[in-house]
């Protein structure tokens, strides 16, 4: 029923279809480009559209940008989804505990969350990746580390709201245990804004990964959109397409995720929209 409402809105439809296309790219990459993204296919700096079969041109070493974009989608989606799942697990746990139990647990957990939020996230991610040396897993770890605090905050606020509701009080009165109340009453009723935030979180993670790779802190063994942009940067004055083409794929993916997030939000709060 919710999926139908998401699909009924044009924004949600566009977002979902775009996202499915990008997932399709990620799945089909090894079949369409069996030689991988690092293979040299033509002379360097080949402009897009100048040779059939290499529609997006080549980079500084003569690698196929189209292949790079296809393989890059795998990295972006992987990092985005895994980092988000990690951030959600940590954030929801921290937020739920702080919100439901309050008092000391709340004070301690929220000050730690504050501390994380006062350190510039991207800078922190840069530092973490450089200390741990860049690889897919350290990048995921760094992104998850900087993105859980907002989830914790949001979850806490929602849990606080639901905790005070009369239906939760009524469950206390019938003698339900605290863990059961959290799992069956509080979380189901407080997670919908978190679900919406998750879509944005995936988008932010993709942007952060691209930013890290752009700075040369990507996993040197995998081709990501940020890696391509980093390769193109020195020649930005002449062959700017090497930066812009993968950049546009980042934008497209993030746009699709945001559209989907907005559509889910509207679908979850139909009454809010009517008013």
């Amino acid at each position: 029923m919710m999926l139908r409402r998401v699909l009924l809105s044009p924004a949600g439809m566009i977002g979902l279809v775009t996202l499915l296309l990008i997932v399709g790219m990620a799945i089909s990459a090894p079949y369409l480009f069996p030689k991988g993204p690092w293979a040299l296919v033509a002379r360097p700096y080949l402009w897009p559209g100048s040779r059939p079969g290499i529609p997006f041109g080549t980079d500084a070493l003569g690698r196929d940008i189209l292949a790079g974009v296809f393989y890059g989608s795998r990295v972006s989606l992987l990092v985005g989804i895994v980092a988000t799942v990690c951030a959600l697990v940590v954030g929801i746990t921290v937020g739920a505990i702080a919100g439901y139990f309050g008092r000391v647990a709340d004070a301690v957990l929220m000050r730690i969350t504050d501390a994380f939020q006062t350190i510039p996230g991207f800078l922190f991610a840069v530092v973490l990746v450089s200390i741990l040396s860049p690889s897919i897993s350290t990048i995921i770890f760094a992104i998850a580390t900087v993105s859980w605090p907002p989830v914790a905050r949001l979850t806490r606020a929602e849990v606080l709201r639901v905790r005070e509701s009369e239906y939760v009080q009524s469950c206390k009165i019938i003698g339900m245990s605290a863990p059961r109340i959290i799992l069956t009453q509080v979380l189901p009723n407080s997670l919908s804004p978190v679900i919406v935030a998750a879509a944005v979180l995936v988008a932010t993670a993709i942007i952060t990964e691209a930013g890290l790779s752009f700075l040369g802190l990507g996993d040197p063994n995998v081709m990501s959109w940020g890696t391509l942009i980093n390769i193109g940067r020195p020649s930005i004055r002449s062959t700017w397409f090497i930066c812009i083409i993968p950049g546009l794929f980042v934008v497209l993916t993030v746009l699709a995720l945001n559209l989907l997030g907005d559509a889910i939000n509207d679908a979850l709060n139909p009454h809010l929209r009517k008013r």
């Binding site: 000050r111 730690i112 504050d114 501390a115 939020q117 006062t118 350190i119 510039p120 996230g121 991207f122 800078l123 922190f124 991610a125 840069v126 530092v127 450089s130 200390i131 741990l132 907002p150 988008a203 942007i207 691209a210 930013g211 752009f214 700075l215 040369g216 802190l217 942009i229 940067r233 930005i236 004055r237 700017w240 930066c243 812009i244 950049g247 980042v250 934008v251 497209l252 993030v254 746009l255 945001n258 559209l259 008013r275």
Partner: protein, 327 residues
């Protein structure tokens, strides 16, 4: 400014101190995450250090002490303003950071102002004309801004305005080798800042526009707006006199939450536009494995952000008299 305000302020300052303490301890732990200590790094770089010299150095810097003692030493020196020594740059970390700070603060402050101004304006206009063509157009533009990474905006702006149109300088903060009068200097810096500021703030313009639109729509639905109309006020006066201030409250909160992110974005912007700020400093330090310097930057940024958040909280209490009860 009654007693309640001061109690509230005292409470917030206390909270901030706790946060600073957590950050300092956290950064110490982070430093210990680094494989090898700073003497190893130094030895690796110089290549000519023997074991005896390294041992002497360890003793001198207390690196042979138990971790807890090291932590206390670290906290003690941080509290005295000693953030360590950058061997790479042969200067102490604090003066290095302070020297680079003005450029970053200039960039961040200009970006916040730009983002809040254009963002709220777009949001309020969109809300005023909700579900009509203007709103749809604004919302679409905002969505694209929202989806574009800062470094891509930066590169795009450089390509269009510096490389192709040759309208604006490609990087740096001041045109080198020219003797400027004060006013000319201001103009020159402003010219250099246009692209960095817009590349950093475009994303935040989008955030504030979305937020301001949503919050304005919510405020316009409130009973006191109906009261204002019932008095006979015009729509313009209702929006400016009654709705705007209430609608700005979430924006103010958001600015506080995002100041940290802006500093993070400054790393990218300063790198792209070669601005001499702390972001660029941190970037260079990362590649030189100059960990005391990196942590120094993190600590100073965290400190500034905490202070800014405190100021924003005070502004908030001035904007919203209800804060004292809702907390």
């Amino acid at each position: 400014m009654d007693r309640q305000f001061w109690t509230y302020l005292g409470w917030r300052v206390l909270q901030s101190l706790v946060i600073i303490a957590i950050v300092i301890v956290g950064s110490f732990l982070l430093l210990h995450l680094v494989p090898g200590d700073m003497v190893d790094v130094l030895g690796g770089q110089r290549g000519d250090m023997d074991a005896e010299l390294m041992a002497t150095l360890r003793e001198r810097y207390g690196l042979d002490q138990p971790v807890l003692v090291q932590l206390l030493n670290y906290v003690g020196s941080v509290l005295q303003g000693d953030l360590g020594y950058s061997y790479r740059n042969a200067t102490d970390v604090l003066s290095l950071v302070l020297q680079r700070l003005p450029a970053t603060i200039l960039l961040v402050v200009c970006s916040v102002i730009t983002a809040v101004f254009f963002g709220t304006m777009a949001g309020v206009i969109a809300a005023r004309h909700a579900h009509r063509p203007i709103d749809v157009i604004i919302s679409m533009i905002v969505l694209v801004f929202y989806a574009t990474p800062i470094f891509l905006t930066g590169l795009g702006l450089v390509i269009v305005f510096s490389v192709k149109l040759k309208l604006l300088p490609i990087g740096g903060l001041i045109t080198p080798g020219v003797d400027f009068s004060f006013l000319e200097l201001v103009g020159d810096v402003a010219l250099h800042l246009i692209l960095p500021v817009f590349s950093l703030s475009l994303f935040y313009i989008a955030i504030y526009a979305r937020l301001a639109r949503a919050s304005m729509l919510q405020v316009l639905d409130q009973d006191y707006i109906r009261t204002a109309y019932a008095k006979g006020l015009s729509t313009y006066n209702v929006i400016i006199g009654h709705a705007l201030r209430n609608a700005l409250l979430p924006v103010v909160t958001m600015v506080g939450l995002q100041i940290a992110e802006l500093f993070g974005g400054a790393v990218l912007t300063e790198t792209i536009f070669s601005l001499p700020g702390v972001g660029r400093l941190a970037y260079d330090a990362v590649f030189e494995r100059d960990y005391p310097l990196i942590l120094g930057v993190l600590l100073v940024c965290a400190f500034i952000i905490i202070v800014v958040n405190l100021i924003i909280d005070i502004i908030y209490t001035l904007l919203d008299p209800r804060v004292e009860i809702s907390r």
